[in-house]
Symmetry: none
Subunit: 440 residues, 2 copies
Amino acid sequence: MGARDRKGDREAGDVRAGILVTGNEVVNATIRDENSPWLAEELAGLGIAVDRVLIVPDDAEAIEEGLQHLAARDVEMIITTGGLGPTEDDKTAASVARFAGREMVLDPDMERKIAGILSRYAAARGVEVPKDGLDEANRKQAMVPVGSTPLDPVGTAPGLVVPGPDGVVVVVLPGPPRELRPMWSDAVRTEAVSEVVGRAEELDLLRLRLFGLPESRLAAELRKIQESGADLADLEVTTCLRKGELEVDIRFRPAAAGRANALGDALIEAFPAEVFSTDGTTIDRIVSDLLLGGPYTLSVAESCTAGLLSARISAVPGASRYFMGGAVTYSNDAKESMVGVSPTTLEEFGAVSPETAREMASGIRSSLGTDIGVSITGIAGPDGGSAEKRVGFVCFNVDGGDLGSIELAPTIPGGRNDIRERSALVALHLIRRLLQDSGG
Amino acid sequence: MGARDRKGDREAGDVRAGILVTGNEVVNATIRDENSPWLAEELAGLGIAVDRVLIVPDDAEAIEEGLQHLAARDVEMIITTGGLGPTEDDKTAASVARFAGREMVLDPDMERKIAGILSRYAAARGVEVPKDGLDEANRKQAMVPVGSTPLDPVGTAPGLVVPGPDGVVVVVLPGPPRELRPMWSDAVRTEAVSEVVGRAEELDLLRLRLFGLPESRLAAELRKIQESGADLADLEVTTCLRKGELEVDIRFRPAAAGRANALGDALIEAFPAEVFSTDGTTIDRIVSDLLLGGPYTLSVAESCTAGLLSARISAVPGASRYFMGGAVTYSNDAKESMVGVSPTTLEEFGAVSPETAREMASGIRSSLGTDIGVSITGIAGPDGGSAEKRVGFVCFNVDGGDLGSIELAPTIPGGRNDIRERSALVALHLIRRLLQDSGG
């Protein structure tokens, strides 16, 4: 089936994209491809489905063949990531030009921009600029296919929007996610890409987030709803376990909004305690909004997580308005000197115990004079477990004084990293519970 | 170039594989593909390079076209993952059979095995076995291409080793990683796969890590080395910017070891201060090894990073032997009360200043009685910057008492997250410098 035929077979509004990831270091698994999942979600938000993802090495022939393979699938857009750096093994721009049948020419405007960026970088680091090497490198990066639209660099590599054969639009983006993401926004604003996006019918998304529910119970509930006769035919439902939380995505065309909302309501009714977000808001943002909207201040004392909870709380801009600080009490001495845990408690109950957690939370709360003090102490492993307190045993305490307090001491499954990350997550959910229960 | 030609062009021992990942949920990024990175590492250990990875939806045509695309690249082996379940949307086995030009036949032995597994599963869960449905499902899963070698299921889905056209061997594995991994070991023991593995010559890897060097200067140096006449023809060199560090991978066959080491030495000579690892060891591990090998203890005081450095230090198992804890002094009050920064210093120089950093480091050092105290205070943004102290301005202090001390106050580029992550990284490198300079 030829390109035209296959595109013609699809419904109006059904617009597809292919993603070409380039990089030896991705093919050989030295680094993970973070870009194609991110782009797939961005594209889904614009109503564009990803048709396939191809990961190829830094090899001109492989990149060109990859572009041809994706184009043969009759996608409207191809997005490439990586291979835009100054070194010899960065070959994407030239390969895309050959695929599109376009000459490479020097863009003097881009050359100036890159030169400016490079000398600012060098100046900021106090290093000397080796004139020749830099000139050659930035000239390579300033070469663009004739008729393409350059995208300004976020790092040093410019991106490109290149008109390809048969109306396919090729968006060429750099590999580092912190450069790719803002440049993708720029790409979407170009005429060529916005024309493709305009042809797509946007799917709406209803996203529920749940905490504390096994995936199998959610699956069983979805089956029950379906068997009870609910019409889910034109809803695209995906469930996904993501770092300890369950995410249910319901995608739908505007005409199916009623059925999508009914399904959402049925899940909220089935799991009222577990659904904590119905508009895609993350737990980090929910806790931040609760604290920004109220008068309360927060401090934390961490042992096994050793800063992960503090780092996560303070990752939200504006956290300094309610987050005062914390203690990383990794040693017993630190537990005594920084948050005043009594030696007797440590002796009698151990460093990982509800009693120690209680004194850590009240200790940091009074030491920093905050309304709420939160503590985590646990056994992250791989060593330190016992028959009584296994690896993964973690004690939490949220001490809100008159606001009330919450204690919890679960055994969390997984390896050292899982246990630490999951513990920080559990603590965030406990803070949310205290704030919501107290009307804060 | 035809298949034979291209394979013929490659050196003896250069054996390649392609990976075909199937699944709507992978293409649309609902779940991450954990299998292809894992397989790439397993294959590298056997001396087999991955030529490319293709991710396609659960669509028979897409799978068959994907197999053809990978085969056209003249790989010796194709590994497929996913699409082996009992449901309608599991289409991999039949697509592989069509690609290989082989009929599907019922394997009665496999049918019995699957039936046994399914009834044990059902019994363990206390559910009734819907006789007809199971029969149909297990019959589908017991259909195998003529002449293939079935791999026993770890879950319920059997795998396959299928002889394909032109001598390519197709290994068909299920999607769940906990099923795929043990079944891959079984696949490697089959005659067809072990014959391919036997033809591969293992590549050695020399990995350098550098810190504090712009990628463009590394590129210029590599060009200079090449232009000076060094023979790099049979070395596979990739450079990669990874979270603020540069990684140079030199892959080579045993015969080229001399040239690989000469290139490594040339880079170490060119950048003696920037190369910090010549055997792939991470900075986290280097700092940990230095501390485990010496008598020194460590504590940290963090403001803008708010726990990221503590979390990273404590992520290495065994850190409790040298890491005592730290203070997250997010507010000025916390800087005064937890690490004794004087109000005058805060008033006169500001919370983000080398003076405050100095008092934070010495404060946490004496408060926890450690040999080394480390501090970070900076402006992570998006707000809080000024003309004099821009967003990204971060002050570091490593106070080692008699061991010496290091100060640094760079302006780090990027967004809030980048600045925080990069700051924790810079601090690790400063700790390394102090320990190495002091012979610790």
